[in-house]
Symmetry: C2
Subunit: 330 residues, 2 copies
């Protein structure tokens, strides 16, 4: 897929810069504890430079809704903490060795610390969210917390299942990823006292964006380089996660190729050659193109949602972020 | 310590029976998910018969405060879910093989499932707590969530530290155990719209009760039988947890005994003989008596708090529960 222009999130970063400064201060401040290990583990992960898309979404949607208060600041920080907590726990669940281009926290401080510091951050997330004093926003966010965990459990249950249906795959990514994008966007409307319709539009917007983002993430897990994506390439494959590129390839495989897939996925200690075989099998069946085409489809749904808002710099920045979500290489 | 009478929580159970029925229904209902593994793991642990002291405290304190609404039901269920989530995570952190007399969930479904189902239950806990519509109660409970995790991290950091001060030990048990007892009691006052003073009294009551409970738990970990306490005896010792009985013994040890303690605690694969030696060293220095005397001291502080309330059946039941907390053998 040759692209004329390379899209990015620079506009979104620039327009949310001042508020993100406050969010980042709050994040640092709220990892401080009498127990050294908590700021150490939290800040190690937090300072390792994720995109911080989720808190930016909360700020951006609050701005789209002409929010008159500052409650989106603790809410945005809470959303990022919730995300960080799930990353710490995911690394334990997946036995990951790398995260954001650095050695995973659990490799340095142990699984125990990752579990407990994750719990601490989840608690702090709720504390900050409670400070925003909105029961409605808390409803959305506490619901997101359970749905994310449910998605992670589903993913665990369906690991190594080549026959997973596309519907189940979409449910998993909707739960584990899109739900927090969706909640992060929706609470911007809630905190601004916007109409139910606007809240629904932003909820859908976040959801579609999250799905587009996860689909391209699943493609990048095979096609990126470690410098770009900052985690091990092939993680999904080695962990037995059957993502969309495999689903497409398996479905279009002939009997022999299906057998090869089964051998590859069920092999206990997968190696680099197995990964290469998987890559070839996906490529042969245009698994990456189909995955990115799906991502684009969801990206376009997200863009449609934005059509409900007046022209503004923030709206353009969000549109760019949507293009980025399905054309990105990092 | 020969006791004239054996105290229990039967009165508390009997007086909260109807409400606990509703709480238990809600608990079962809220573990239902499309993902089989979630109800399976949750109900395995939930049905294994913990005492459910914490939700009973929420109900009892609501009754003491003459609560006029039913919001204590979802709050009590939320408190129990929060507790269950920490048990699932603790077992992963401690590599425990038993819990409540049954094989630990993580031994049956893996650490991954215990981490994720714990996260799910924590999310559901917040959802239920949000349903009670009280920002103040949410403040108390979200704060408890972080403090509990902080206590668990401290405990991890201080494992195998024989020189841990009694102050640090008390901070750890205050954080990891007493905080939830305290929050569970305080929210009864909050939800009943009681005065700040009453909320403070119940907060203190729960806190003292929790400390008494944990101190006797730490003694029971050495002196009980598996039939009574339902988890491995000596867990604390084998996990390198330096609890009050050891702190007392180590402090009163001579040079030679201190060396023996160091050898025992720093040994990587502790065996039954090591546990026997530890038991003897504690017994020799009256470590258990001192621990139970401390428990009694905190129990009496809890009883003092109750003096602020008029005579009632519920008050008597709580007094019995306090006696139980420091005289129990299970």
């Amino acid at each position: 897929m040759a692209l004329q222009k390379k899209y990015g999130i620079e506009e979104l970063i620039s327009l949310t810069k001042k508020d993100m400064g406050l969010v980042n201060d709050l994040i640092i401040q709220r990892t401080i504890s009498n127990t050294d290990m908590i700021p150490k583990v939290s800040q190690y992960l937090i300072s390792s430079g994720g995109k911080r898309l989720r808190p930016m979404l909360t700020i951006a949607s609050s701005k789209l809704c002409e929010c008159k208060n500052n409650y989106y600041i603790p809410l945005a920080a809470g959303v990022e903490f919730m995300h960080t907590a799930t990353l710490l726990h995911d690394d334990v669940v997946d036995d990951s060795e790398m995260r954001r281009g650095k050695i995973a926290a659990r490799m340095l401080w142990g699984n125990e610390a990752s579990v407990l510091v994750g719990d601490y951050l989840l608690g702090e997330a709720f504390k900050m969210m409670v400070e925003a004093q909105s029961i409605k926003a808390l409803e959305v966010l506490s619901n997101a917390a359970t749905v994310i965990a449910e998605g992670e459990v589903m993913q665990l249950v369906y690991s190594n299942h080549l026959t997973i249906t596309p519907e189940m795959y979409f449910q998993i990514i909707n739960y584990k990823t899109a739900k927090l994008f969706s909640a992060a966007s929706e609470i911007g409307a809630i905190i601004s006292d916007s109409s139910k319709e606007t809240a629904q539009i932003l909820r859908d917007f976040g959801s579609y964006l999250g799905i587009a983002f996860q689909l391209s993430d699943d493609a990048l897990d095979y096609t990126s380089t470690i410098d770009n994506i900052g985690k091990d390439i092939g993680d999904d494959f080695f962990e037995g996660k059957v993502t969309y590129p495999i689903i497409v390839s398996y479905k279009k495989s002939n009997k022999e190729e299906k057998k090869l897939w089964e051998r590859l996925i069920n092999k206990k200690n997968k190696n680099a050659n197995d990964f290469k075989s998987a890559l070839e099998l996906i490529d042969k069946k245009k698994g990456f193109e189909k995955t990115l085409a799906e991502a684009k489809k969801y990206g376009e749904k997200a863009l449609n949602c934005l059509e409900n808002f007046e022209k503004s710099e923030m709206k353009s920045a969000l549109e760019e972020a949507v293009y980025f979500s399905y054309t990105r290489d990092s």
